[in-house]
């Protein structure tokens, strides 16, 4: 999986936020939202079929989280730590390369 591009920010936020309480518990650096792994309550998960993918980036553009990165060949990579399983990527994919499947623990 591609490395999270916010990694450095996350570390900074974690450090700043834990060391000093700001008025109104404001977080002064961007990226704090990625500290919270929002993928933990997912019901459906996107299953990706590489063969059908035409690399149009639609899933990448529409992902509201954004939990989709592009690898070196511009294929989407799903970050399941943050994917909430909303299914927007599957809905937008013109070639139906993404299928939402019920996640089993």
């Amino acid at each position: 999986m591609a490395e999270n591009p916010f990694k450095e920010n996350i570390e900074m936020v974690e450090k700043e936020y834990s060391e000093k309480m700001t008025p109104g518990a404001i977080v002064y650096l961007p990226g704090s939202s990625v500290v919270n792994k929002t993928g933990s309550w997912r019901v459906f998960m996107p299953k990706f079929n590489r063969d059908k993918c035409v690399r149009c980036f639609m899933c990448y553009i529409y992902c509201p989280e954004p939990a989709i990165y592009l690898d070196e060949e511009s294929y989407p990579v799903f970050d399941y730590d943050y994917c909430k399983g909303c299914g927007i990527c599957a809905n937008e994919c013109p070639t139906k390369a993404i299928e939402m499947v019920r996640e089993t623990k």
């Binding site: 936020y17 834990s18 309480m21 700001t22 008025p23 109104g24 518990a25 404001i26 977080v27 002064y28 650096l29 961007p30 704090s32 939202s33 919270n36």
Partner: protein, 394 residues
Amino acid sequence: MPMRKVMKGNEAAAWAAKLAKPKVIAAFPITPSTLVPEKISEFVADGELDAEFIKVESEHSAISACVGASAAGVRTFTATASQGLALMHEILFIAAGMRLPIVMAIGNRALSAPINIWNDWQDTISERDTGWLQFYAENNQEALDLILAAFKVAEDERVLLPAMVGFDAFILTHTVEPVEIPDQEVVDEFLGEYVPKHAYLDPERPITQGALGFPAHYMEARYTVWEAMENAREVIKEVFEEFEKKFGRKYHIIEEYRTDDAEIILVTMGSLAGTVKEFVDKKREEGVKIGAAKITVYRPFPIEEIKALAKKAKVLALLEKNISFGIGGAVYTDVGRALINEKEKPIVLDFILGLGGRDVTFENLEEVVEIARKAMDEGVKEEVYWIGLRKEIL
């Protein structure tokens, strides 16, 4: 020169808002405070106030819009009452937790059921734990003055908490009284332009507001609200002093009236304080040693001032237009909290009266004094006394 005008309490609140020059006012009409946003919208429409007036679809949206505006970094004002305030309940915690100095005028009104639009303090008293500062006005002049003072306290760097200023429904909101409107320049000097200290929008300084607080941080965040409320005690004193210098009217956290040699002190809030003072004068003429005290600032609760007051009298009689079911008057329990560790304390009596706009008459107050007198000799007979209750229809 300050201008003197005859106006309703609601108009006085609107004038206070106009003088404070908020940039955003979001409000939803509700009896009895409808006239406040109505008047402000007139000011805005006439170009007398340079502000954004947001018409919203409910009180929940009104306070939410205020939270948004205040978080974006501007002075913000709203007004409501009763059920409207109750509808805001959820967001009131958020405004305080995010430390946004919003000021809200409240026409204190009873809560349903049964539906009742008249005065008591149940609405604001029920919101006492939200982290908002609370002021109670005795007359229309105080409504105007306390709103100005509330802005100054709320926006102080040591406080940064929202504030509500209550003035009694109809008794003040719809009654005309002469009100002195201070000069805009003096108000400008007093309040200054609002400079947001922590919450503001700036592309160069990206921030997350209202963020998720995990157990590792939540408690500290709540503590800072507590700390801010504690700081407010000192700040309020400073602001009241500065207010006197600028406008010539002196305010006290607890205003005492003829308490020096009083055996019985009637403690109350809001417009009832006016009636009680009048009553004290009458009883003094009859030679009864009686005094009055008015709680102007209810949150932070004036613990030290209550302790000082308690040293002066044999009986403190709490006159309250609210009830916390299952225990008694809310202010009574607060006063009890203030006195619980004192070695010598007076008898403290709890009187519930004037709920839902029921008149509080001199006869009612005579009854209170009679009970207080008896309590000195025979002790406290009842936990809570309901005054003016029509037992025959129960």
